[in-house]
Symmetry: C2
Subunit: 437 residues, 2 copies
């Protein structure tokens, strides 16, 4: 193996990998206690005061930047952390503490032959690299998920949250120390150079989780040979079938587009069946009423002359803001073809009262999440009941769609024998039993 | 999306993708019948005659090349197909026909709220690209696995087997036709240019399976953005612990090294504990007796002066032939450290009568397969009871170790509602039920 050059960060990650072995080897009660104690630490009033003080430094800088127009207000809101947000984090950590174990779970227990037993047991991936937006609560959630899954974690949060992240990391390190776990199991990287260095450690880091802008995710994918799990592009569609209920169309269109336009599970294109004009009109009027910029195909503009004309590039665009493209399609076939060509395999939803059409849509659309009469915004780990989520994957291998703690483990095959060799088996010799125990 | 340029192969793969939808939608009885009929077709004496005639063309060319020294004898043996090998293939296909379904299996069934049901259902990956060695039986096994998992498959076998592969593909196509399935669900590529073209189709091909030399696997990984599942390097170790049984050490060392030296699950380095000299001597003498070239560290050569000296590069070398490197280690810690540094996360085995040492080895070694008192050669889909295998993966994400048909499926999240939107939920509003059904 051609190991990357030595560096301070590389030494830290080597230590993290060793500390990860301790995390992997924790018993279930030890892991529960660790997460419960982490929850308790964040409940401590003095600790909360320290966190909020750190956060104030970040917020002051952010508000200055906001006034200069260098930072969006939404980002400032996400950056702030208060007693209420901390209480939510404490609840989350306590839930993780109590949730079923994901490490050391037996997936296979098979007798291959007398005294030759094969087990398949879940285990942590090892070392996670996580680069995420300037949202301090994300640091705590991600660390909780890493500890639950027995992984060491190298964290790099958005630079605007640095002061808050430093305080949070100290709290986490103190709890790790109290459990005799090397604090380097959780490492905070503070600068961009660290990320570039991290991406080179393909022999030490087992999974990179990249959150943030689509541009950033592409940067990560293009600059590492470490497997990447990412919120990549989310080009989601809402298809109003000929048998769509107008009121559902209207409600779901508005929720899917406006409840959080920057999220990857937001709808970008509304497809309407030529026989769903009434539902389409209702949805379009509701979107316009909710201050959404609507860009339509010719058939759509024939009914709504006031809207802008969509161009071919609109069908491949993730707006990330209050803009939606609208296109008329001849039928379900054409809707499926449009989604197959332009969708990003994230979330696709059909609005219809026709169960057969819904069944076909759910069976044929090649996406992580396929919905019927529901908002695309349900595509979310919390809403799916996975607890916290590390992200939504549009890849097909390993975890798909919203990824919870189960996506952070792998398994190993363990075989215990008493001296068996393979040349004993075969035609005219011993046979395998292959008996599941 | 920037789709690759149009080409004849691209059109074929587009057709394969569409045909894959038919495969994905087959009912369980239909899929069983398809595989059973494929098995029956290969039992037909006329078809067997045609296959063997095609194979004779390949064998004649191969033997010419062998006489010129251009082709290894082992390759010629693997290339040949006879009535006995065909009978084994028929059995395998019939077993696949009868094995439990892997498509359409429900993994989650959760009530998120009244009339809002989330299911997670297994589904095929879509289109598989498989590049494999000149072994005609591999073509049939891989096709069987693809059909069982509902995937279309683009096949490229070693060029030495081209005539045989053509006949086999015709047989498969005839069975697909009889089931009204577009024959382009199974595509045979005949030239290297086709492989280069295939690797570009990242928007159509969901998984590349690369079998063959380590060099070839690296070529595939370096030349595609399609996820690759591969037999990559297999640098497997056998560690003789201080409490190793000499007879087991001897038997397992010889089986692990000599039963198929070119396989990835073959042992490359024997580590022996300073307190396991007797077992080490037994193993080394047995290896030498089996015509294995032994390359030792200084401590090993002190006991066996006739053997060659190992250099640092030996610890990172996959020989693929009857050569083994041997190194003395101070204890279990040093063995674990050597494996962590030089192993390829494939298969590692400890020989010991000490259960505590075995437990620690099985718990701490970071490899797909961790064995105790068993040959590394057990690392194999058939021996593990997975039925046929598509390969052995040394990656940690998705399937790990020997990969059977379960590694060829993914899942989708299907949500069925009656108009729910996300802004209805939250503090002071509706709550999720998250009740598993």
């Amino acid at each position: 193996m051609n190991a990357p050059e030595a560096s301070v960060l590389r030494d830290t990650i080597l230590a993290a990998k060793a500390a990860g072995l301790i995390l992997a080897g924790l018993s279930s009660p030890q892991r529960q206690a660790l997460l419960a104690d982490l929850s308790a630490a964040f409940k401590d009033p003095q600790i909360q005061t320290a966190i909020i003080a750190g956060n104030r430094l970040d917020l002051d800088l952010a508000r200055e930047a906001e006034q200069k127009g260098e930072l969006a207000s939404a980002l400032v809101n996400r950056l702030s952390i208060d007693a209420k947000k901390i209480a939510t984090l404490c609840d989350g950590l306590l839930q993780m503490s109590r949730a079923p174990e994901v490490v050391g779970q037996q997936l296979t227990n098979r007798l291959l032959d007398d005294n030759l037993v094969l087990k398949r047991i879940t285990c942590p991936l090892g070392v996670l690299g996580v680069v995420f937006e300037a949202r301090p609560d994300a640091l705590v959630q991600i660390t909780g998920l890493a500890l639950k899954s027995g992984n060491a974690v190298i964290l790099k949060g958005g630079k605007e949250a640095l002061n808050t992240n430093r305080v949070l990391t100290v709290v986490i390190h103190n709890v790790l120390s109290a459990h005799n776990i090397d604090t380097r199991a959780v490492v905070l990287i503070e600068d961009r150079e660290g990320v570039a260095e991290l991406l080179k450690q393909n022999d030490l880091v087992d999974l990179m989780i990249a959150r943030g802008s689509s541009q950033f995710v592409h940067y990560v994918r293009d600059n590492t040979s470490i497997p990447v799990m990412a919120h990549a592009d989310g080009i989601c569609h809402l298809y109003l079938h000929s048998d769509a209920d107008s009121s559902k169309a209207e409600r779901i269109a508005v929720d899917s587009k406006t409840s959080y336009p920057a999220a990857c599970n937001t709808v970008e294109t509304l497809l309407w069946d030529v026989n769903a004009a009434v539902a389409a009109d209702a949805a379009i009027n509701a979107l316009l009423g909710a201050n959404v910029q609507v860009r339509g195909c010719e058939a759509t503009r024939a009914r709504h002359p006031q809207i802008l004309a969509a161009t071919e590039t609109d069908w491949d665009t993730e707006y990330g803001e209050l803009i939606i493209s609208v296109k008329q399609v001849a039928n379900l076939d054409e809707a499926l073809a449009h989604i197959a060509r332009h969708g990003s395999r994230h979330t696709e939803s059909i609005i219809t009262q026709d169960q057969a059409a819904a069944d076909r849509f759910l069976a044929e659309v090649d996406a992580a999440c396929c919905f019927h009469n529901a908002s695309t915004r349900f595509s979310d780990g919390y809403r799916f009941g996975l607890g916290a989520e590390v992200g939504i994957s549009t890849d097909k291998l390993h975890a798909r769609g919203p990824v919870g703690v189960e996506g952070l483990v792998t398994y190993r095959w363990l075989l215990s024998g008493n001296g068996q060799i393979t040349t004993e088996y075969g035609e005219g010799k011993k046979s395998f039993l292959h008996k599941d125990l």
